[in-house]
């Protein structure tokens, strides 16, 4: 098994217009996703939803603090999962089921145990 981080990128206008029911529906989609992960013989070992990118602060290389995310793009990083999966094919199949517009799948750099 190997760990993959699923970075979820979406347009953020959802949060400007979403009502309570939209949020409940969204939560249900994530529950269904986690169910699919377990059914595939993989597991969710971590993850968080993030506040909108307008709340981000970035410390640049020269220690300059700026208001906003590192890369100001139309679709912003909105949350992530850490998934333990047998291989990339399984991870990619799960990423297709992940409730997000775009999912970047990155393998975790596993350091050898001391």
């Amino acid at each position: 098994m190997a760990r993959y981080v699923f970075l979820m990128y979406d347009a953020e206008d959802f949060y400007d217009t979403a009502d309570e029911q939209d949020v409940v529906d969204e939560m249900r989609l994530h529950e269904q996703f986690m169910e699919a992960v377990r059914a595939a013989g993989a597991s969710v070992v971590g993850g968080e939803a993030l506040q909108p990118s307008s709340t981000a602060s970035t410390v640049r290389g020269d220690a300059l603090v700026t208001d906003g995310p590192f890369a100001d793009t139309k679709e912003a990083l909105g949350g992530f999962y850490v998934i333990d999966a047998p291989d990339l094919d399984v991870a990619l199949r799960l990423a297709k089921l992940c409730p997000a517009g775009n999912v970047e799948v990155r393998p975790v750099l596993e350091l050898p145990e001391a």
């Binding site: 291989d87 990339l88 094919d89 799948v105 393998p107 750099l109 050898p112």
Partner: protein
């Protein structure tokens, strides 16, 4: 090419693939396959083994086991993900390697580079010529792709049935790209026969490994039908001869027969795909006694079907060119259709426009379109043809 080179070439993919299953490391598998070839070159002159491919595999395995024992403590690299470890299973190993090289998580150029390196055993210089890029760039690309295969755990596995068709399409696309890169080569001649030969070999291997799939048959049919025209594509001076003017008696009838048989089988299959339709067009040209007697209506119908299966601007361009050959065709309408296509930088678009403009008697515009095609073309034989058309303002 000598007989020995052909033996090495035919066996290479299976030797690398089978050794990769053992070593779980693509670099090491390649090194061991290379070592086996070098040992063969030293020892075979004293007597050929009964089964040369088997000899190469066994030798590569032996080299691998030696190296693995010696370097066990030094190895920190991530292993290639092989499952199941299984017994000796060479044909499936080669197929595993095919699907690993053409994995959708790798960008197309990397798929092509890995395929040419690992399945065909081509060196970086030759691959750089195919990808029209520098050797250092190709070497970096191959190294990064191998690192990704290990780090992201791209499995060394044949995809399950429900994914096979989509994954196979990527594989066939890569093989078709290799053939196209050889059909109009990057060197002095019109055709790079080494490369077209590699593509034919890959297509034959896929047919052998996936005998129940129609699309590998179709791709092989398409390649054979295209190869059949090879001798007629240039004249005695080495100048380009378009299909319309080719001496059809110089077409290779044996290749046409084989290509038609593959194509017909693929067309009859319930899961007929885009390569079957492309091969069908090539087949319709192959059976036409002359350019004038070509069944253009059937070709247009086939392109219509292809546009439904696989809509792409290149198909639309070819369909438009075929439509312009129908009796009473409205050439100006065809020209408008072509002008709407999004094919920036594709030299055959201005070439097709130029042909239509010349037929419409708009000589100055035809010359300008030929000049546009010339600026986008690198093959010297095609350049010579286009340069002449610029000067003659479209007249043959």
């Amino acid at each position: 090419m000598t007989g020995l080179e052909q033996v090495f070439r035919d066996a290479w993919a299976a030797v690398v693939a089978s050794t990769a299953r053992l070593t779980r490391d693509l670099d090491l598998a390649e090194d061991c396959a290379q070592e086996a070839v070098e040992r063969a070159l030293r020892t075979w002159p004293q007597g050929m083994p009964d089964n040369p491919a088997g000899w190469l595999t066994t030798t590569a395995h032996r080299v691998a086991l030696d190296r693995l024992r010696r370097e066990a403590t030094l190895r920190r690299k991530l292993p290639l993900l092989v499952e199941p470890p299984g017994d000796r299973d060479e044909p499936v190993d080669a197929l595993r390697l095919v699907f690993t090289c053409c994995h959708p998580a790798l960008v197309r150029e990397s798929q092509v580079a890995l395929t040419l390196r690992l399945l065909c055993g081509m060196d970086v210089t030759a691959i750089a010529a195919v990808l029209l890029t520098g050797e250092a760039g190709v070497a970096r690309r191959i190294t990064r792709a191998k690192q990704k295969i290990a780090a992201a755990r791209i499995p060394f596995r044949v995809p399950p049935d429900d994914e096979l068709a989509a994954r196979l399409d990527a594989v066939l696309t890569v093989v078709h790209l290799v053939h196209t890169a050889g059909h109009v080569g990057s060197r002095a001649d019109l055709q790079d026969t080494d490369l077209t030969g590699r593509a034919t070999g890959l297509a034959r291997m896929l047919v052998r490994l996936l005998p129940d799939e129609p699309e590998p048959q179709a791709l092989l049919g398409l390649i054979l039908l295209t190869e059949a025209r090879g001798p007629a594509r240039t004249d005695a001076e080495g100048d380009l001869v378009l299909l319309a003017h080719q001496d059809r008696s110089r077409w290779d009838r044996a290749l046409i027969r084989q290509g038609l048989a593959r194509t017909t089988a693929a067309l009859r299959h319930p899961r007929r795909g885009r390569f079957a339709l492309q091969a069908a067009v090539a087949g319709l040209h192959a059976v036409a006694p002359t350019w004038a007697d070509t069944d253009w209506a059937q070709i247009v119908t086939t392109y219509d079907a292809l546009m439904r299966t696989w809509p792409s601007p290149v198909v639309a361009l070819n369909r438009a060119a075929a439509r312009s050959r129908l009796p009473g065709a409205d050439l100006a309408a065809v020209l408008r259709e072509i002008d709407d296509l999004a094919l920036d930088g594709y030299p055959y678009l201005p070439a097709a426009r130029a042909d239509l403009l010349a037929r419409l008697g708009r000589a100055e515009e035809a010359a300008a379109a030929y000049a546009e095609a010339l600026a986008l073309t690198t093959n010297p034989v095609e350049r010579r043809y286009l340069a002449l058309r610029v000067v003659s303002r479209g007249h043959p």
